[in-house]
Symmetry: D2
Subunit: 352 residues, 4 copies
């Protein structure tokens, strides 16, 4: 059978990537695409690369237009999906690519986002450890089976959480004083008409932002680390925009718990990701490159123990628009609906 799908926010980068992947998915049929200022236009006029969807026209983003589909993907600005999703039927699978339903802590929402808090949904990084108190030692995947409300992750947050969770869960790294620095492409900011996203500002330069503990993905990472078993995780987090349209390369270091051997450190990640189709630990001595994941739902992780410093260096690469957003959302939809988890999701990157 084919599930009918609506995508809200179809004129943006995340929406476009959802459509690119959904169009090639054997079990989904995109029936409705919605937008705000572009409503009324052919989809192709704002997403000229989506040639296979030339029959679609953008309509207004309203609950009426989204109703009546099996699956609704929301790719809206933060703060826009809470109210809208409340109007959708409870048995519709709704996957929110925005931040509105990621945080379980209302205080963290208030501090980093502000505005009305609409509560948290099942968290869309299947490979992360399940929240403690779930009374099992499973992964987030378990909570996604049969779910009808799912919060797709923040792209930076999922990259860093995937980097750290195995070590936290296995007790081989400390959860305090973690440091993470990310090279990120500007597409993560969406079609945002601000000076800092102009090509002339980005080309030939590396531009940090959200420095000093202010970035909104910090509480999301901390939440995932707590789910992995950390008590009160702290992380220094700095993203740097670099001149590539898409991709994240996160370099994260954490102190190794004293007495732990390098082999034990490595084993934590080996075990955690041994059977994961989309998260691959590279052999010792190899490091990932973001470009190798472009267009794919794959996260590549390289790991080195720096004994002189007492830290493990974890380098994670993924495509912010795919495994970081749209691919993760579809992976979650596959799980929620009982489809094979990998259906319709590319594993091979488009490189060079």
């Amino acid at each position: 059978m084919s599930y009918s799908v609506a995508v809200a926010g179809a004129s943006g980068y995340a929406g476009g990537e959802l459509l690119r992947l959904l169009s090639a998915h054997p079990d989904f049929t995109v029936a409705t695409v919605t937008a705000h200022s572009n409503a009324g236009q052919p989809l192709l006029s704002v997403q000229p690369h989506l040639r296979s969807l030339s029959h679609l026209t953008l309509v207004e983003t309203t609950a009426e237009n989204l109703a009546g589909h099996d699956v609704v993907f929301l790719a809206l600005p933060h703060g826009k999906s809470g109210e809208l999703s409340a109007l959708l039927p409870a048995d519709t699978l709704v996957i929110d690519c925005g931040a509105d339903h990621r945080l379980t802590d209302a205080g963290a929402w208030d501090h980093f986002y502000g505005g009305e808090y609409f509560g948290s949904w099942a968290y869309g990084v299947p490979e992360l450890p399940a929240a403690r108190g779930d009374h099992h030692s499973g992964k987030q995947r378990d909570a996604l089976v049969g779910a009808r409300r799912i919060a797709a992750p923040g792209c930076n947050a999922s990259t860093v959480s995937l980097s750290l969770a195995p070590g936290i869960a296995a007790g081989v790294i400390e959860a305090q004083d973690i440091v993470s620095v990310l090279a990120v492409g500007p597409s993560g900011a969406g079609k945002n008409l601000k000076l800092q996203y102009l090509a002339s500002e980005v080309l030939g330069s590396a531009n940090p932002y959200g420095v000093g503990g202010t970035h909104r993905h910090i509480p999301e990472i901390q939440q995932s680390l707590v789910s992995a078993g950390a008590a009160a995780p702290t992380i220094s987090f700095t993203p740097v925009i670099v001149p590539m349209s898409r991709g994240i390369l996160a370099t994260t270091t954490a102190r190794i718990v004293p007495g732990t051997t390098a082999a034990e450190v490595r084993e934590a990640w080996e075990v955690a990701y041994a059977d994961e189709p989309f998260v691959h630990l590279l052999p010792a001595g190899e490091v990932p490159r973001s470009g190798d994941t472009a267009g794919s739902n794959t996260a590549l992780i390289g790991l080195a123990v720096d004994e002189a410093v007492g830290r493990v260096v974890i380098i994670a690469a993924l495509d912010n628009l795919v495994k970081g957003t749209a691919g993760a959302a579809i992976q979650c939809a596959n799980i929620a609906l009982g489809l094979t988890e990998t259906t319709g999701l590319p594993i091979d990157g488009v490189a060079p």
Copy 2:
């Protein structure tokens, strides 16, 4: 059924792209990958983005290793496939991504390439007009049905030929004094360890090469224009390397035959490509961007009549590694084997 496939030259960019597409193709199974200096290594060590093919190991490029497959793709340096393909069984489908079998004119081969000439094969741009003397008004596609030896096109040549052929065939543009200037990504040069392909040389700069009538794709374009009906076509052809890893954006202008209306000009391309799944003429007033075709087998064509100059401006965008090389090769394999022509080939670009 699944056809068994070997890819020779699997460590290069064209070879890697063949593998990325073949891996997702429902009717092909990659059984053998060969290389020269990298033989003996796991494929992943040289193509780290091809995670779905982690089971493959590169073997030497020899006729023995290539024999016994249903389909053999050759992605070898120019001059390397002639001898090798002569050793492969006549009923094996062999598709050469090199230049060795593209030119029908031994003199042109000698002038632009040199070395032994091995004769021409069926030409792998299905959407171009068939050679005259074929006693029909069809397309190159017709000669590919059932073929067992196919020459995949040069990426620049196919871009320019697709830009011009409809106008030549319809008699609305002149075949002399054509001018084409291309922005091209450096991946077209392969993994070529020369100074001009270093990142530092390419970043932040636009670098022309092959200026003044010396580029090897010129006779290939002329051959396609003759097939379309031109008598003695002449073209000024200048490629410019720009800082994007893949993609071609060709701006081609040709004089309009006096007395032809703008509508008649446009109609030539509309008719030629109306039913083509991979070559799309954009509506009047729209121009293509190379980025919108990245990773796809799609060619986008925009067309404007500049009445003040008496020329039509045709702008064509495609991905040099897909529609320009590997995708074209697989499209041809689909046709040769009687599969649906579009099988396994993405139409939507990976953008942004």
Copy 3:
């Protein structure tokens, strides 16, 4: 002595480049910098690279603020300098980097720009041939000596005009049916908050615009070709934005006048630019790269005769913000004020 200078539009890219060059110029002192929405802010807050000018604060762009300086550079949006400059004293040297005073033909202004026409000023490409009717065989430079109103050129227009003028003036190429295709960086569009200038849209893609005879620099080129002696020049002109912040690489071809030898063609450019400090003809067989001119006031020109086509291919590289705009403006100021023409202007590019 030191001339006091005001720069209007100091918050933009052209304004910033004027300031970078003026700051290092031994005979100019920047006294006033003006802006529109950024007035009141320190210059460094919008031009953080101009560390040597940390003492300056932006003030409103008004005639009052601009008055009282020896030299005023206007780097305003098109249509904004006409009225303003009329309010400045006649003996102030005013150099307009906008289009308002470039065109001598009110009809061309009306057709390509529209709005009130304020008349033309001395044209700021010193190396081009003087307008006919000036009763001498000199260059535009002559009209700049002592001038108090100067129109700096359009960056694309000056690149193409410098490419063609020597051949036109010498009578070795035809002025009709010229074709020019340019790879250009997005900084030419200024700090323009439109979707097509976002980094995500520009990175990894080649994006044409102004296709089919609609670009505003066409009449400016034609005007320069007429000055060089052409009767009714026609040119097909297509700019393509590529992912480099600054730089222009123009590939221009023109038909060679029958009977002209290749040596005669080349000689036209050799003679024209033999003594020019900023326009360099490369030896036969060499082609320029835009990156080699970054940050400098140098234009590099390569030339090849394509005998098979009967065209000369002229490739010109320059930095759109320097020789294309700010450097040209300062070069003109040097000439107007009787300073050595090359004062304060770098000849060496910042490469790689």
Copy 4:
């Protein structure tokens, strides 16, 4: 007076940048340029952007060719300058841009480089604290006055050392467990014909290297931190190549000594760099971008205290070829010869 200068290794990127800056320097005259495989060629044929030096021809890199100049700059591969410089007169000012004379610890040389150790020279980052035991509280600058042998710094090392030294010297940050992650342009690797430096590999990707404590700049950083007063500094150091030809953006974090206020932290850097012409601390809340330093000898430093983590985040931006190499070398030459330190060195970046 003008000092006569020779540049060895003039065909590389560092050599080219030395020449670009020296050519504009009022007190230096470039008399000799040497190379290895390019000897005999005009300088312009390998450095086509250096138009002002069109009169120079490359000669062999030999002691004979380098002798007889007032100043010799060596921009040779590591391990090549030790023997050569021993053959130059003791009163010639020799500045080595390679690593050969940077490390004071023969063991560190052996561990990270290997080969014969030629001893250390005065270290070419004038703004860093002087080595302890120098019996004063000055800066490295002091040891450069009158020096005739100077080791220019490693570009990554100087960026990180400048980031940390003020805090170490003031006792406000801990010298252990420092973490630094750098976005760097590929020009730092020179004209190195290896696969990982090809444009196709670098474009669209962020590529880490030297991960896990193996990078050769680590002992150089540690040496500078010891000079600043650290006992046994440890640093996790990870460089990431990103698609910009030049530039370094280093994000470095260090633990704040307990009990130190945020104001005290900031003050350490304010005091250290208050009078430095080339190292600028940005106001609180601002972060530097590498592009703003392109082509200049300026280092920009931004600083934020992350109280939740107990770390200070220092972000430093500079041009690896200028302040990281060639500009630093010339700054040192100015100091050694008693010239004004800033002579001939641009402060303003070439942006965008």
